[in-house]
């Protein structure tokens, strides 16, 4: 082939490549917009009516203009109409009058933590990495966030999670990696330790968290005042304490492949662990609907290219019953009592 033919051939390949990609982008965007128009907008109730009663706060993920915005349903009528607020978050949690929102900032790939308190200015802080878990304490005084801090290429040597607990009264934040780690009675400092998924007890000091090192996850109990974290039992991730503080729910691998979790509930007094009736993999930090039922988000593939739907499901905490959908097109549930 002469050089001119080769040049033409190379140019042709480039045009086809760029053209096909551009065509895909246009078609994908068009189909997303069409799905948004065709989707039945769920009837919305006034936000003000719902935000002062016990409610479930969640992320509304139905395709459409309001995808990704925070929505509310009253606790007494969770399957009914939802009130969609103007706040847009990747991960949301709420407690009392406070809403914690992890969301992209104005710059691409950079995220921030927003703490909204009704009647007060919003407090914004930078979040390093991509959002993973968010929790507030029951009284709204403590904020916990977990984010992935990964390297900038496939060489994720610098990878870690960063879990930060920040009091809302402006006192200094703490990074869990700086806490003392007690394991079987001894202080250890493994180089590869990572923390994620904080859940607060009601006393403003105790919390539960996942700590992982040497490729093993552990449920751990921590104390803010003594800056200590103590491992409790292995193979437990993303714990969530029940409202009465007597049980903690988490996800377990139990020897399955990574990424294939089941939810289990541990009775703290008796040490008995019960695996729940949901037999699909659950990757979420679960939330307690009340002292006997667990809420979690479950993805749903409804055919829209690249976009997974999600629903919030409910299941009893004693291993009985069958899981049911509680809120359609929802994720990141938080119950405000």
């Amino acid at each position: 082939m002469s050089i001119r033919n080769r040049l033409v051939a190379a140019l042709a390949v480039c045009l086809v490549a760029v053209g096909a990609t551009a065509a895909y982008l246009v078609v994908a965007r068009d189909s997303q917009q069409r799905a948004a128009q065709a989707a039945q907008a769920p009837a919305t109730a006034a936000v003000a009516a719902v935000e002062s009663v016990p409610r479930i706060v969640f992320r509304h993920v139905a395709p459409g203009q309001e995808h990704g915005q925070v929505a509310l349903v009253p606790l007494g009528d969770p399957t009914g109409r939802r009130a969609i607020t103007a706040m847009s978050c990747d991960r949301v949690y709420a407690s009392g009058t406070r809403t914690l929102c992890l969301t992209p900032s104005a710059v691409a790939s950079v995220f921030e933590t927003q703490v909204h308190t009704r009647g007060e200015p919003t407090v914004v802080a930078p979040l390093s990495g991509t959002p993973s878990r968010a929790r507030l304490s029951g009284d709204g005084k403590l904020v916990a966030t977990t984010s992935f801090v990964a390297g900038d290429s496939y060489d994720v040597e610098g990878f870690s999670t960063r879990t930060v607990i920040r009091p809302t009264d402006g006192a200094a934040r703490v990074e869990l990696e700086a806490f003392r780690l007690l394991h079987h009675g001894k202080v250890i400092r493994p180089a590869d330790r990572n923390y994620w998924g904080v859940t607060f007890a009601g006393d403003g000091d105790t919390f539960f968290v996942t700590v992982a090192f040497d490729e093993q996850t552990w449920l751990a109990r921590g104390s803010l005042r003594s800056a200590t974290v103590t491992t409790q039992r292995p193979d437990a991730e993303c714990p969530s304490l029940s409202p009465d503080g007597r049980r903690v729910a988490y996800k377990k691998l139990q020897g399955r492949d990574p990424g294939d979790w089941r939810i289990a509930v541990l009775d703290l007094a008796s040490g008995r662990e019960t695996v729940l009736a949901e037999d699909r993999s659950v990757d979420d930090q679960v939330e307690w609907l009340d002292d006997h039922r667990i809420l979690y988000a479950m993805p749903r593939d409804d055919g829209t290219p690249g976009l997974l739907g999600s629903d919030v499901w409910v299941v009893p905490d004693d291993g009985s019953g069958t899981p049911q959908v509680l809120i359609k097109d929802a994720s990141s549930p938080a119950v405000v009592r």
């Binding site: 082939m1 050089i3 001119r4 080769r6 040049l7 051939a9 190379a10 390949v13 480039c14 490549a17 760029v18 096909a20 990609t21 895909y24 982008l25 994908a28 965007r29 997303q32 710059v107 691409a108 790939s109 950079v110 921030e112 930078p126 979040l127 390093s128 990495g129 991509t130 992935f148 801090v149 990964a150 390297g151 900038d152 290429s153 496939y154 060489d155 994720v156 040597e157 610098g158 990878f159 870690s160 999670t161 990074e175 400092r189 493994p190 180089a191 590869d192 990572n194 994620w196 992982a212 490729e215 996850t217 492949d257 990574p258 990424g259 993999s281 990757d283 290219p305 690249g306 976009l307």
Partner: protein, 428 residues
């Protein structure tokens, strides 16, 4: 004796337009290879930028899965590099081996579009890494084969500048796509495949199929097929040792950015974009420092470049953060890459015989990569033991001591080679 010093081309079928001046053709091949690298880097960096988001938001994986994927790369990469260099030398066809590597990476992007679940993503990333290991040394051998000896530094500088431009564009493209079609990661993977295919097409269709061993032997006694014994040269051995010692005292970029991020909130918020700063400096300084290495000698610039790294460490180790300290650290880091990456390849090219050039480059690159991997393991432990600041100071001090040692090791290493070549040239 070397191809580029012979003005006459033996009648070989060449896809060159008649009347092309040698000078222009040499520059064109380097630029074409630079374009190939640019497009391939756009392809892989676009995927890398969204991979954490994709793995967690869409596939629902956990942090542990990341560590698992990561561990696979390094061992695989080292083996494949040497194999790639050796194959390119033995067959005397660096273009073919490089094409194999680029092709493998392009294929892996196809698989990524269909991949679901941890196993599939792992396979895709491994294949992409295999491709990258396979092609790096043959591609550098192509650059060396198509540039005059005296301007190798500039040639590699041009290539690295184009390469880094691709690495800077990739993530920007990925986020632009995600803004245009929110949540559609498949669109990013399709764009990545398109860029990889374009790079491959340019390589296959436009880059000449240089045969370094055949051309070096043309007109004189044909060179023998390469044997690895030809690498056992004292000067080359000194380079490998010096490069290894310097590399084992480096801190990986990931750790350095983590150090910056932990020090102040500003760096923490901008963490995902810190590497963009480094890349911009690298891009800007690659050609000037490459030309400097042609004038002053490649060994001095390569070894001296590690002092820039020491400066970067000092900026990151201090207790006080702030915009100035962070930006200065990124500047020194980018300048370090500009002074060492391409210059090391240029230096390695000049210290080995033509028939084992790809193997020689592969050996040096493997030693550097393995040393860096070992150092990142060790540095993690050092960080935990001493804390961020003292650990970085310790490595900076060790590296500052190693630089004069490396300097002494590489003293006169290029001059001796030049002398030898002149004698060989005079004799033939």
């Amino acid at each position: 004796m070397y191809m580029t010093e012979r003005p006459r081309r033996v009648a070989e079928p060449r896809p060159e337009a008649p009347g092309t001046r040698r000078g222009r053709r040499v520059g064109r091949t380097v630029i074409l290879l630079g374009l190939v690298s640019l497009l391939t880097d756009v392809s892989s960096e676009a995927v890398s930028a969204v991979l954490p988001l994709y793995l967690t938001a869409v596939l629902g994986l956990s942090p542990l899965a990341f560590g698992f994927i990561d561990g696979l790369y390094h061992g695989v990469s080292a083996l494949v590099r040497i194999a790639g260099g050796w194959l390119a030398d033995r067959a005397d066809r660096p273009k073919w081996v490089a094409s194999l590597g680029y092709g493998l990476s392009a294929l892996s992007k196809i698989a990524l579009i269909a991949a679901q679940g941890l196993g599939a993503v792992t396979a895709v990333i491994t294949a992409d890494r295999l491709g990258k290991g396979l092609r790096t040394a043959p591609r550098d051998a192509l650059i060396a084969a198509s540039s005059p000896q005296a301007s190798l530094g500039r040639a590699f500088g041009v290539h690295r500048a184009l390469d880094t431009t691709g690495a800077a564009i990739g993530p920007l493209l990925a986020f632009a796509i995600l803004w245009f079609v929110p949540g559609d990661y498949r669109a990013v993977f399709i764009a990545s495949l398109a860029a990889a295919v374009m790079g491959l097409a340019i390589l296959l269709l436009l880059v000449p199929d240089l045969r370094p061993r055949r051309e070096a032997g043309a007109g004189a006694a044909p060179l023998n097929p390469p044997s690895l014994r030809l690498l056992a040269d004292r000067r080359f051995g000194r380079l490998v040792l010096a490069a290894g010692v310097l590399s084992v005292l480096t801190i990986s970029d990931g750790f350095l950015y983590l150090a910056l991020q932990q020090r102040d909130d500003l760096a923490a918020a901008w963490f995902p974009l810190l590497f963009v700063g480094t890349n911009l400096v690298y891009l800007a300084l690659a050609v000037p420092l490459g030309r400097l290495s042609d004038r002053l000698g490649r060994a001095p610039v390569m070894v001296g470049g590690h002092l820039l790294l020491v400066a970067a460490y000092l900026c990151a180790a201090g207790p006080v953060g702030g915009l100035a300290a962070t930006l200065t650290c990124l500047f020194f880091l980018g300048a370090f890459y500009a002074a060492t990456d391409g210059v090391l390849a240029a230096l390695a090219s000049t210290l080995v015989r033509t028939e084992v050039r790809a193997s020689g480059i592969a050996t040096v690159q493997t030693v550097v990569a393995t040393a860096r991997f070992a150092s990142s393991l060790g540095f993690g432990l050092l960080w935990v033991w001493l804390g961020r600041g003292p650990a970085v100071y310790a490595v900076a001090a060790a590296l500052a001591l190693a630089v004069p040692c490396a300097w002494w090791l590489l003293r006169g290493v290029e001059r001796a080679r030049n002398t030898e070549r002149h004698q060989a040239g005079a004799a033939s």
